[in-house]
């Protein structure tokens, strides 16, 4: 069973004394979607780099505490800017998606199977022969996600995965995230698309200045303090702004139920 555990993790980037993360403890199990929310600079991206074994190993810095990971597959991370994640070594979208699986040294027929599956899941069939450098930001983002999904990661880390996507693309991505979790993948993501989280996240972790300020089910996004920190869902925020009574509804469906019961 996949399991990522961070115990009392404090992390400092090179040449800085101020920690980007302070005493963070967190667990993500296989089949679970955990969402990190917080304002800019809260430490969500850093936490993903630590969870992905990229910090301090690649980016440098100092880590205190313990990070353990058990899983049957690799850890895959999707970073926020798709342009810098292109391998630069692919003629076509298909080759770009196959870059990771090929680096894992998998047999060719298995690579073909996994790449075709990832391409279908991200709805990229029409793009497979295109040069990846000619794609739009949203298309490229889907290609990058497909490249990681094709590696069959046991732990999937997503940093602002919907930033380049249109609303329909974002919905499709959240559905994919849920489907991957249902298949046993452990998923840790950082997003500012808060309205998408109630349908996808099992748990929400609120990070504030590198510390875990609160953690709980997605209903946390309708919490008074969280809304005051501008991290609530749109529905909860509007309900509170309208000075309607608490508890605040999380989604449109919740709001409709509450309104009809008034």
């Amino acid at each position: 069973m996949t399991r990522l555990a961070l115990e009392g993790v404090t992390f400092r980037y090179p040449a800085t004394d101020t920690p980007a993360l302070t005493d963070v403890s967190l667990e993500v199990a296989g089949g679970e979607v955990v969402a990190l929310v917080g304002s800019v600079g809260a430490g969500a991206s850093t936490l993903l780099l630590v969870a992905g074994d990229l910090a301090p190993r690649v980016v440098g810095g100092r880590l205190e505490g313990r990070v353990t990971f058990d899983g049957d597959g690799p850890r895959g991370i999707v970073l926020p800017t798709p342009w810098t994640q292109l391998s630069g070594m692919a003629f076509t979208v298909w080759d770009e998606v196959a870059f990771g699986p090929a680096n894992l040294g998998l047999p060719r027929d298995e690579i073909v199977r996994q790449v075709d599956d990832a391409v279908a899941r991200l709805g990229l069939e029409a793009f497979v022969s295109r040069d990846p450098t000619t794609l739009s930001g949203g298309e490229l983002q889907r290609v990058i996600v497909a490249g990681i999904v094709a590696m069959r990661p046991a732990l999937l880390l997503l940093d602002e995965p919907t930033a380049e996507l249109d609303p329909a693309g974002a919905r499709a991505l959240w559905q994919l995230v849920r489907a991957l979790a249902n298949e046993g993948t452990a998923i840790l993501l950082a997003t500012s698309d808060l309205d998408g989280l109630p349908a996808v996240a099992d748990r929400v972790v609120w990070l504030d200045h590198g510390r875990v300020a609160a953690s709980g089910p997605a209903a946390l996004l309708a919490n008074e303090e969280v809304i005051a920190a501008n991290l609530g869902t749109t529905v909860a925020t509007v309900w509170r702004a309208a000075e309607l009574p608490a508890p605040y509804p999380l989604t449109v469906a919740h709001a409709v139920q509450r309104w009809e019961r008034r």
Binding site: V58, F91, G100, A102, M151
Partner: protein, 216 residues
């Protein structure tokens, strides 16, 4: 030409400058420069080759007499044109596939390919930065001082953005398992017929023979 195996292309691009320096000047340099320029024309890279070689001619002329300038200039022109041609004719992904198929580590192959792909990438970015600076009123025309200011406004963002991107690209490559010791599966290794291998070894033998002939 572009259908040749990547190693054959590299062998041609390596042999031409070697022969240019081995053969007596200026005839040897002239012959190899003509071949290299012909290749650059075939890859539609003639202008790039000329513009890259031109400053070398200028500096040589300032430092040497005409015969020496011609002798060294032709050799440098061969080197420049060969490099420009191979960059234009050899897509980096094909080189990676060829190297991986022959047992090179994926990271070594990537370093080679990244070197070849750096030129067009930086050129495209420089064009974007120049456009952006032009939108903000910076014109590359005018007096020397004005041009130097424009150059600084181009060079600084170019260097800084390239350095910044190196960090992000390293993370992206790492997460896609391109690291030391990676044994990558070649997806579509370019065919390497016997004729191509014979041509490559012939070029090596020709260079060695020319060297022996010169040292005799």
């Amino acid at each position: 030409m572009t259908r040749l195996h990547p190693f054959t292309l590299l062998a041609i691009a390596g042999a031409l400058p070697a022969l240019a320096w081995i053969f007596p000047a200026p005839a040897g340099g002239l012959a190899t420069a003509i071949v290299a320029m012909g290749l650059a024309i075939s890859a539609r890279a003639f202008r790039t080759a000329v513009f890259t070689a031109a400053p070398f001619w200028l500096f040589l002329l300032l430092l040497h007499d005409v015969p020496t300038t011609v002798a060294i200039g032709l050799r440098i022109t061969t080197m420049v044109a060969s490099f420009v041609w191979v960059v234009a004719a050899l897509p980096p992904p094909r080189l990676v596939e060829a190297m991986v198929a022959t047992g090179w580590s994926a990271t070594t192959a990537y370093v080679f390919a990244a070197t070849l792909s750096a030129v067009p990438v930086l050129r495209a970015r420089a064009r974007r930065i120049a456009d952006a600076q032009r939108c903000r009123g910076m014109s590359p025309r005018g007096g020397l001082a004005h041009r130097l200011r424009a150059l600084r406004a181009l060079a600084l963002p170019l260097i800084l953005s390239a350095l910044h991107e190196v960090d992000e690209r390293a993370l992206a490559l790492e997460t896609r398992k391109l690291g030391p010791g990676t044994r990558r599966t070649p997806l579509s290794p370019p065919p390497d017929p016997v004729s191509g291998r014979v041509a490559r070894w012939s070029l090596v033998v020709a260079c060695l023979a020319a060297l022996v002939w010169r040292l005799r």
